[in-house]
């Protein structure tokens, strides 16, 4: 995903001289092509994420579309107030890019586990929060956020993720993307790299369920969600994030709002699959840690497997 991101950004920067890339002393062997090609629109600001986001705000006020790139928690949690107050309150054209979402940097321990940022960021007014599901979504989303006038966040996994879409997907604000559709009454709603996991699981286990990628955690298109909720009796939400306040919470909130507004006749059964609001202290690969934290479609839907 990160390679796709930087390739996409390079291509955009060739056409759009407003694009500026800041990094917080991270991106070795990834960002160099951009830095070489556009030295006047690249800067390593050092290990100083609060300043990076403030700088980005200042640059954006002078007309730049500023991307801030770093690992996981650093450009998000570390700079949360700068994102809220400097970027979002001023509707600054700043894009926060975090590589290594969830447990992508599993063995590096809790400091590098990015498992709370979606919930924190999606509460900030005006911030578009995204987690593309595969490299083709990353490419489309990079284009989308570059042209979206205002604050955006994009969570990337790491490297080597397979492409899930047969053709380049078209992203539009808040819309989920159908990946597998059939005559099923059950569907998986996944975000970020869990889309890839879900796709593999469904195929390997012959799970009778449809699959949707939600590259947008905020906003979520409620009209589309209402259609999907009416179509399925069982929905599993799947995210590599704490259960509190994340993607599954966002889906539940919207569904309940739809019900209370009379736009939905009944609620489907929703199973939230997320990290059970716990830290994990042991080392492990991304797959291992997901397993430890029960991020699995096993036992869903009830009675099927």
């Amino acid at each position: 995903m990160r390679t796709t991101f930087i390739d996409s950004l390079l291509a955009l920067a060739e056409r759009d001289e407003r694009i500026f890339l800041l990094c917080g002393d991270l991106g070795y062997s990834v960002l160099e092509p951009f830095a070489r090609r556009f030295p006047e629109r690249f800067l390593n600001v050092g290990i100083a994420e609060q300043n990076m986001v403030g700088l980005a705000t200042g640059l954006s006020m002078e007309g730049y579309t500023v991307f801030c790139y770093s690992i996981g928690n650093f450009p998000t949690l570390r700079a949360m107030e700068q994102i809220r107050y400097d970027v979002c309150y001023h509707e600054a054209n700043v894009k926060i890019i975090a590589v290594g979402g969830g447990y992508a940097y599993g063995p590096l321990s809790t400091s590098h586990h990015t498992t709370e940022e979606l919930g924190m960021l999606r509460t900030i007014p005006g911030l578009v929060v995204t987690a593309p599901g595969d490299p083709s979504e990353v490419a489309a989303m990079t284009g989308f956020i570059a042209s979206h006038p205002g604050p955006c966040y994009m969570r990337l996994n790491k490297a080597g993720e397979p492409r899930l879409h047969a053709a380049p997907p078209e992203v539009s604000l808040g819309r989920a993307l159908a990946l597998k559709q059939g005559a099923h009454r059950a569907a998986v709603f996944a975000t970020g790299d869990m889309v890839g996991y879900a796709s593999r699981y469904i195929e390997q286990h012959g799970l009778a369920a449809d699959l949707y990628s939600f590259p947008f955690v905020n906003p979520i298109d409620t009209a589309q969600l209402a259609e999907l909720a009416a179509r399925y009796s069982q929905i599993a939400t799947l995210e590599e994030h704490q259960a509190n306040g994340g993607f599954g919470s966002a889906i539940l909130e919207r569904l309940h709002d739809l019900l209370s507004e009379g736009r939905l006749a009944a609620l489907p059964a929703v199973k939230r699959i997320a990290i059970p609001n716990a830290f994990i202290s042991s080392a492990g690969t991304q797959d291992y840690l997901r397993e430890q934290m029960s991020l699995t479609l096993r036992d869903w839907p009830a009675g099927q497997s």
Partner: protein, 271 residues
């Protein structure tokens, strides 16, 4: 013609009036920075109040958002909006909130959470450098907010990137929210710290307009270095019973105090 001395007096009177009318606080820090703002807006900044966002303007980022009355006052005094607008200060629905609001004409950045504006100012200065613009960027910070580490990230950044189009002013009145800066978290030797970080540092009496004018001038600067003006000021400056008193970080004047302060401010700067 209005002198910067007249301007400073009018800023102080407006701050006093606003804090009295609306039972608002942070008067002490507004009075301490009044001369800095008077010199900046009266004689230094290139600006056009009729076009607050004119591309060629100098940018001023005012980080001590709690001392908003001084900024709101100087913007009224210099023609960004009528003085009557100040009467809505803190009213329901007014943009004149009691921490600085960028919805007010002439305000570049909302501030109130401390330690934010210098980074934004540095980003703006960087954009100016990259685009070879000839406008200048100013940031005004309080001393207490230098406790925030984010400032020191920016203080490290600006000289490294040779932002000689950036001027930082520290309103060094030496009193923060809950005590003196020396007691709470000592900043001294502040000028030496900035010099060690690579800044062109000038210390001035922050109430001496001649010294401020010279230090804030956009000409005669050291190439490749951002400048910091450590302005030694007095919290509550201009009102004898408010000067150097921690309480005036919070208190708003009662009627008698208002009248006495108004008298002092009016007389004290009478030409």
């Amino acid at each position: 013609m209005t002198t910067t001395q007249d301007l400073a007096r009018n800023i102080r009177l407006q701050c006093l009036q606003m804090c009295f009318n609306k039972r608002a606080s942070h008067l002490g820090g507004a009075l301490s920075v009044a001369d800095v703002l008077a010199v900046l807006y009266g004689s230094v900044l290139h600006k056009d109040p009729a076009q607050p966002k004119a591309p060629q303007r100098d940018r001023l980022f005012y980080s001590k958002g709690h001392a908003c009355t001084a900024l709101y006052a100087v913007l009224a005094e210099t023609g960004y909006y009528p003085h009557a607008a100040l009467e809505t200060f803190t009213d329901n629905g007014s943009y004149f909130t009691s921490h600085v609001n960028h919805k007010v004409p002439g305000v570049e950045l909302s501030t109130g959470s401390l330690g934010h504006a210098l980074s934004v100012a540095a980003g703006t200065a960087l954009a100016g450098k990259r685009r070879q613009a000839d406008w200048h960027v100013f940031a005004v910070v309080s001393d207490g907010e230098l406790d925030e580490g984010s400032n020191w990230e920016a203080i490290l950044f600006a000289p490294h990137h040779k932002l000689d189009n950036l001027t930082l002013v520290v309103d060094y009145n030496k009193i923060q929210s809950f005590g003196s800066t020396a007691e709470v978290l000592n900043l001294d030797p502040l000028a030496d710290k900035f010099r060690a970080f690579g800044w062109d540092c000038i210390e001035v009496d922050g109430h001496d307009h001649g010294q401020l004018s010279a230090a804030l001038a956009k000409t005669g600067r050291q190439p490749g270095k951002p400048r910091v003006v450590v302005a030694h000021t007095v919290k509550g400056k201009g009102v004898s019973f408010m000067e150097n008193q921690l309480a005036w970080h919070y208190k708003s004047p009662d009627a008698a105090q208002f009248a006495a302060a108004r008298e002092e401010l009016t007389q004290g700067h009478a030409a």
